[in-house]
């Protein structure tokens, strides 16, 4: 039996908007096993972004528990969350979120700086990650502004892989890409999944379900359906 790497147990997240309360998540439970490819589907306002933030350790649940690799993040402080994030999770964003002043290679190096890797090791590994993300070597010294959307997303994927996290967390990874480029990115991601990475993708794009092996449907902060 596969161990579960992400365990969400009755997670509640409530925001305060002035005097009123917004119930973004109303008690969600599910688990992700190692090597899974989970798609979290839902329209905007369904609570899927909140779910992504919680799994990504960018936020903590108001109630309930979330275990990442066995650690309950609800109890961690800011530095504890940072450590979990750095060592366990590789982020891929819809807007790529690359740092515009740095080259592709340097962008991939960033997470390794915070992991205190030596410059030499960083550089070597960053090149390998770019290769893994199938970005041509000639683009390594280009700045994000000089790259296409698909290329930028490949840099972002390489960056997500930099610290060898067991979990890759993607937020609408194909949202800003045309369908052909998007397909390439999805194939790359599912290839990484086949190589052992646990992949969690948050999306409203039904095409992604074709790649995932589990899908959770969120609506109004609750799981309405789960397909294995």
């Amino acid at each position: 039996m596969m161990t579960s790497i992400v365990e969400v147990n009755n997670a509640v997240r409530t925001y305060r908007m002035g005097s009123s309360k917004v119930h973004a998540l109303k008690g969600v439970s599910f688990e992700v096993r190692e090597g899974d490819f989970l798609a979290i589907m839902g329209s905007s306002g369904s609570g899927k972004s909140t779910m992504l933030n919680l799994i990504g350790c960018l936020d903590k649940p108001t109630k309930g528990t979330i275990h990442i690799n066995g650690v309950n993040i609800a109890k961690l402080n800011d530095d504890g969350l940072t450590d979990i994030r750095r060592d366990n999770i590789g982020f891929i964003f819809q807007q790529y979120n690359l740092i515009p002043t740095l080259t592709a290679l340097e962008n991939v190096e960033i997470p390794m700086i915070f992991k205190r890797l030596s410059p030499k090791k960083r550089r070597k590994k960053a090149l390998r990650m770019l290769e893994l993300a199938q970005l041509g070597r000639e683009y390594a010294t280009h700045k994000p502004g000089e790259l296409s959307g698909g290329q930028q997303q490949r840099v972002a994927i390489a960056r997500a892989l930099a610290n060898d996290p067991p979990i890759i967390l993607a937020d609408e990874p194909t949202g800003n890409l045309d369908s052909k480029t998007g397909k390439g990115v999805m194939e790359l991601l599912s290839d990484l999944n086949r190589k052992g990475k646990t992949l969690i993708v948050v999306t409203h794009d039904p095409k992604i379900i074709e790649y995932s092996n589990t899908t959770i449907y969120l609506q109004d902060g609750e799981v309405v359906d789960e397909i294995d």
Partner: protein
């Protein structure tokens, strides 16, 4: 150089450098603030220090002297008192003298000087000879101060007249400038016999006594001893310590230096505020980037360090530049004003430059502290959403 290379290879430093370059004009303006601040502090300090050094040096040769003169109601210092002085420890020389202001004539010209009755051996302790030699005891020869000699265009061998008595000039003294004991430049020094010939009614007692102590550190002890010995029953003598004027001058110029540096530090304060402003704007603009950094694993202390490093690099760069500008600028200025740059190369001058650079760097760091702290405390979620 190796260190610089290593720093340049450091990714934090690279990030900082790039971020500083990103807003070149803004960075340059902030740097100018620091440069001016460092310049203000260092050059004000140097200015005060140079003034102090140039003034106090002209007094420094008299620091080990005490001048003893009769107290109010007393006519003179007696031989008996001089004898008692000799028993006090720590005194190198006792130079008693008598003097009288007089017209000095040479051919048709007249100048005014002071005729001193002083032992030839004592005169040697006070002055240096420019040309010629000291007079012999009992002779009718005289030694002249530099200004008397130059006023009358005298040289060794000239014959001058005082009170219708002819004196032969055997020596001309080196110029000594301002002094607190006696003004040797306008002096005419003669032997006891010659003085008696000029002034048959002159008493044997002395107008003043100059005491030279063995070590400048003993000035206060000797002064107390002298007072205890000579003013035991009633106040017979007054003592003037030459070093007191030195101390006064020094403390006065110390205050001037401090005051000037105070003015300088105001500009550094303003520079600190401008760093604060620049860094604050920079953190606002880079909010999203900070969010990304945090999302990929930067801790609070990582972010804090990155921003502080930026302030530090800016501070070091600007402060060093300020230091260089100060050296060049004040050297030029001192050269044109004083035409003598020896005081500039005094070690204390460089202390002021180092102080200026140090305060410049510290100010930059302090200015960068709040923005860096603010950046480090950003919530990654909010930062990522920031447009």
């Amino acid at each position: 150089m190796k260190l610089i290379k290593r720093i340049r290879r450091n990714m934090y430093a690279q990030l900082a450098e790039r971020n500083l370059r990103r807003q070149k004009v803004r960075t340059a303006l902030a740097a100018i603030g620091i440069i001016i601040g460092v310049m203000a502090i260092a050059s004000m300090g140097i200015l005060g220090n140079t003034l102090k050094l140039s003034v106090s040096e002209s007094f420094s040769d008299v620091g080990d002297k005490l001048v003893i003169y009769p107290a109010m109601g007393e006519d003179s210092v007696t031989q008996d008192q001089v004898n008692r002085m000799e028993r006090i420890a720590g005194i190198e020389h006792i130079i008693p003298y008598r003097s009288s202001g007089e017209a000095v004539e040479y051919r048709d010209e007249t100048s005014y000087g002071t005729v001193y009755r002083m032992k030839e051996s004592n005169l040697r302790h006070l002055v240096d000879m420019e040309s010629g030699r000291f007079f012999k005891e009992g002779s009718t020869d005289c030694v002249l101060g530099s200004s008397v000699a130059s006023n009358l265009e005298l040289e060794v061998g000239s014959k001058i007249e005082i009170e219708d008595t002819r004196l032969r000039v055997v020596g001309i003294l080196k110029e000594r400038g301002m002094s607190v004991d006696i003004s040797t430049d306008s002096g005419v020094f003669v032997s006891h016999d010659m003085y008696s010939k000029l002034y048959p009614d002159a008493e044997e007692d002395y107008r003043q006594v100059i005491v030279i102590v063995e070590d400048i550190a003993l000035v206060d002890t000797v002064k107390t001893e002298l007072e205890d010995t000579l003013n035991k029953r009633e106040k017979k003598i007054e003592i003037f310590a030459a070093n007191s004027i030195n101390e006064q001058i020094e403390s006065a110029f110390q205050s001037i230096s401090m005051f000037l540096m105070g003015i300088g530090s105001i500009s550094l304060l303003v520079a600190g505020v401008s760093i604060l402003n620049v860094m604050l704007m920079s953190t606002m603009e880079r909010t999203r980037e900070i969010g990304i950094m945090k999302a990929v694993g930067a801790s609070r202390s990582d972010v804090l360090r990155m921003f502080l490093l930026e302030a530090l690099i800016l501070g070091i760069f600007a402060s060093l530049l300020g230091g260089i500008v100060t050296v060049v600028g004040s050297l030029t200025l001192i050269y044109f004003i004083m035409e003598d740059v020896t005081y500039f190369f005094d070690p204390t001058t460089f202390l002021y430059i180092i102080a200026g650079i140090f305060f410049g760097i510290v100010t930059s760091l302090i200015g960068g502290l709040y923005p860096a702290w603010k950046a480090s405390m950003m919530n990654p979620l909010d930062a990522l959403r920031y447009e």
